[in-house]
Symmetry: C2
Subunit: 225 residues, 2 copies
């Protein structure tokens, strides 16, 4: 019974996500969906990403949490439109939430939409938000085995970002082993290691995001709209 309802929910979500994908296409919006454990550094990554652009660039952010608008407050100081989605207990964002908050945000593109999902390595991976890419974050304090233990999201993600590399000297963590484990689950997954605190590796990440818009072949989906 539960499985039937879950299938129905996911099928309805897929229908709404297809609508979002069409909307992103029409409005030349490049959408990426950031997924990780709580505290892996999604908000810190977004903060430094936004700080790398001027408000003349066309970027918007939707940020999901069970409770609080802490992240939206942190992110809105960079001058870009930001909206908090408080799920009130739901462990993931779904396409309906994104659609509603995108309407309320009034972001019509062209540009880049960054979606920070609820901190959870499991549930968000099943919900298509119409994004061009899912990006999974893994911090160096979490252990190299996480791709094997939570294969769903590593299988679906286009990119794994290893975060908090400034802590590498202080933890027992082998980045090569983490990547090897991720590629066991998803041989195609791309990989960037960075520190949002020091900025190390950040140029590679910004280059990746820029390259994604070129791949999308919608010139107006450029960050420099």
């Amino acid at each position: 019974m539960r499985e039937i309802v879950e299938k129905r929910v996911l099928s309805e979500n897929d229908r709404l996500a297809a609508g979002l994908r069409l909307r992103y296409h029409k409005q030349n919006i490049l959408c990426v969906n950031f997924i990780s454990s709580p505290g892996s550094g999604k908000t810190a990554l977004l903060e430094r990403t936004l700080a790398s652009y001027t408000p003349a660039h066309s970027i918007a952010v939707l940020t999901g949490d069970i409770q609080t608008d802490n992240d939206a407050r942190r992110l809105s100081q960079y001058g870009f439109p930001v909206r908090q989605i408080v799920t009130g207990g739901t462990c993931h964002l779904d396409a309906r939430m994104v659609e509603r908050h995108l309407n309320e945000l009034g972001f019509c593109g062209p540009g880049v939409l960054l979606i920070e999902n609820v901190g959870n390595l499991v549930c968000p991976s099943s919900y298509d938000l119409g994004e061009a890419a899912k990006i999974v974050l893994l911090s160096v304090t979490e252990g190299e085995d996480k791709p094997l233990k939570y294969p769903g999201i590593f299988h679906r993600a286009a990119l794994m970002i290893l975060t908090k590399t400034d802590l590498l000297p202080h933890v027992e963590f082998d980045p090569d082993l983490a990547l090897e484990n991720a590629r066991k689950v998803n041989p195609e997954i791309e990989y960037i290691a960075l520190s949002s605190r020091t900025g190390d590796g950040f140029d590679v990440w910004l280059h990746w995001l820029n390259a994604l818009r070129h791949k999308a072949q919608h010139p107006a989906a450029a960050i420099n709209s």
Copy 2:
């Protein structure tokens, strides 16, 4: 529709959990349920906890994961009965899984049952496993705001363990603020800070666990059975 099914699932879980609670009572088993984000240090905490006892003590472990039996392999080297629960995609343990695996483990008490939940700060908090206490772990790399962002588990937990305190010199993290946030959600929550790597604070944790068995007032639920 989905809410109705979820309520029915939780109500069925509560019924099974009540059965487990009765069983723990009859068999003088003290059961605690560890919940945290992936990579917060549940397995490391359990490893050092098991290493603090000799196999003459009566302790058993059930450890949950989406995939892999890595944790059971790590934990079984200490000579105690350990069983992996692979949920195969389900984001939490439920009372039915615990009942089945406890039967297969053949642990009849008296003693202590340590349950390591799936790494997830959201979903496991709603599922009663008949435990005497939920214990939430928060590592110093995750940020002080997590109790406010994930209030469900901090509200239900009897104890918050701050882990990885050996990393405090290398991160911006204020333990007092984390505790203040946890107590906003749950004024009664107890608090221990420790490092499973260095052992700092570990005596306080072992003392807490020992005190819990005394509170339970079932002498045979003692670790020293």
